[in-house]
Amino acid sequence: MVGLSVGETNFIRGGIAQDLRCDGRKRLSYRPIHIDTGVIPQANGSARVRIGGTDVIASVKAELGRPNSAQPGKGKVSIHIDCSATAAPIFQGKGGEALSTELAADLQRCLLGGKSGAGAGIDLSSLSIVEGKVCWDLYLDGLVVSSDGNMLDALGAAIKAALSNTGLPKVNVIAADATSSGDQPEVDVSDEEFLQFDTSAVPVIVTLTKVGKHYIVDATEEEESQMSSAMSISINRKGLICGLTKRGGAGVDPSIVLDMISVAKNVSENFINVLDSEIAAAEAREEE
């Protein structure tokens, strides 16, 4: 983990209090973001997002499956995160499992809404092919290659970029009304026509890390080691909150929570625009 001396700790804390962080940023500014799409050719969609020293890869794989009997008109999405040992030696063996599970659960909360699927950032009904019979199962895999803080925001951005890079093959239903009710309808998966996945509603995740009296966005690993608590808020383009997670041991005053949310909302507008333009630039580069 991060080993910091008393002097370094004071320097980081003092810098945050004076709105000038160690790398010259202000409290509410991000490190440079770089996105590449289509990095994994075997996947339906993939993206690599680098925010400063944090480097994550997300891939989307789609398989045909059976919808859940409780939600016949909806597809299924599952999120799985892996923290590679290349990011930090403590992740070797089963060391990264706890963090991976926590990150996956946070992302699930932020992107997929409640258990009933209500309020999901990803439109699950668009994944349905034949109601109650066939749907797309999306597997979202994230891999943390290098970690320098703010992994959740980076993973959220990578998943958003990977989804907008995703093309689902067009599926033609040949025999929709199969003879007996138990039969699976025959489908033909086209390998020429692809449908672009609509990602306009996919939220971004903004994590505000509280250090001392102030909170910062896009904390580095050193800054994260000084946090008292952190709030991850997922916000979509319309400015609606899609999910919220609080981490860290210290309690937060309820009025500060509301303040953090409104700050996150302001930050997210800019962040979404930056992400969208980076994603568009990456897609354009890939097509060249």
């Binding site: 075997q42 891939s59 794989k61 799985h80 590679s84 290349t86 290098s146 320098d148």
Partner: protein
């Protein structure tokens, strides 16, 4: 199945004695002491090196040499079909061990007693020859970390299908069931440090296939040397001398 067409071309359009496109990049993981990305065609791996540093588990500490450890992991999305594998299955444990032994043979461990060097390799895309790609990536990462080595150990595989020796098998050729010879080689010292083969092969054919793999290792070594030289030039340039 026909792996070499009558015109002498393989499934992916290569000649039998042709390697896949190599690409290497140094410094992919900013927090690590040394790191590298290595690509052989569609196979892509990342290696990161941490150390030499204090030994974590005191019981493993050695007073006359450094402890070298290695972990090999495959990303969920690295293969064509998505399969969830638990960490530390038998295959990856075996490959971890192979990489560790190969790297240990070229690191000058006696110069760093009572310390530990961790090598982590992560497969991002698997298309045959992950073992070789991991060793090549690990070599680059070790060189980037500035760890003293006897030589740049490189690795390459060769096979024998349709009575033709083939260099650098891809996944389809690898799973064809023919022999697959993986060689780890120290080019300057002219020594083989790793040799693995499955399936069976007549002795005189084996010799030519192994020789082919060694030629592949030499080609990889030349490329790695170029990449390292270029990287060093960049570093020198940035220092401004």
């Amino acid at each position: 199945m026909e792996f070499v067409s009558p015109e002498g071309l393989r499934l992916d359009g290569r000649r039998p004695l042709e390697m896949r496109q190599l690409r290497a990049e140094i410094g992919a993981v900013s927090k690590a002491d040394g790191s590298a990305v290595f690509e052989m065609g569609n196979t892509k791996v990342i290696a990161a090196v941490y150390g030499p540093r204090e030994v974590e588990n005191r019981a493993q500490q050695m007073n006359d040499q450094a402890l070298v450890r290695c972990e090999y992991t495959m990303a969920n999305f690295s293969t064509g079909d998505r399969v969830r594998k638990p960490k530390g299955d038998r295959r990856s444990t075996e490959i971890s061990m192979v990489i560790r032994q190969t790297m240990e043979a070229c690191i000058m461990t006696h110069l760093m007693p009572r310390s530990q060097i961790d090598i982590f390799v992560q497969v991002l895309q698997a298309d045959g020859g992950t073992r070789s790609a991991c060793i090549n990536a690990a070599t680059l990462a070790l060189a980037d970390a500035g760890i003293p080595m006897r030589d740049l150990v490189t690795s390459c595989s060769a096979g024998y299908l349709n009575t033709t020796p083939l260099l650098d098998l891809n996944y389809v050729e690898d799973s064809a069931g023919g022999p697959d010879v993986t060689v780890g080689y120290l080019p300057k010292l002219d020594k083989v440090t790793l040799l693995q083969m499955d399936s069976k092969l007549p002795l005189d054919t084996f010799e030519s296939v192994m020789q082919l793999a060694i030629e592949g290792c030499k080609a990889v070594a030349n490329y790695l040397r170029e990449v390292l030289l270029e990287n060093t030039k960049q570093l020198e340039y940035r220092r401004g001398s």
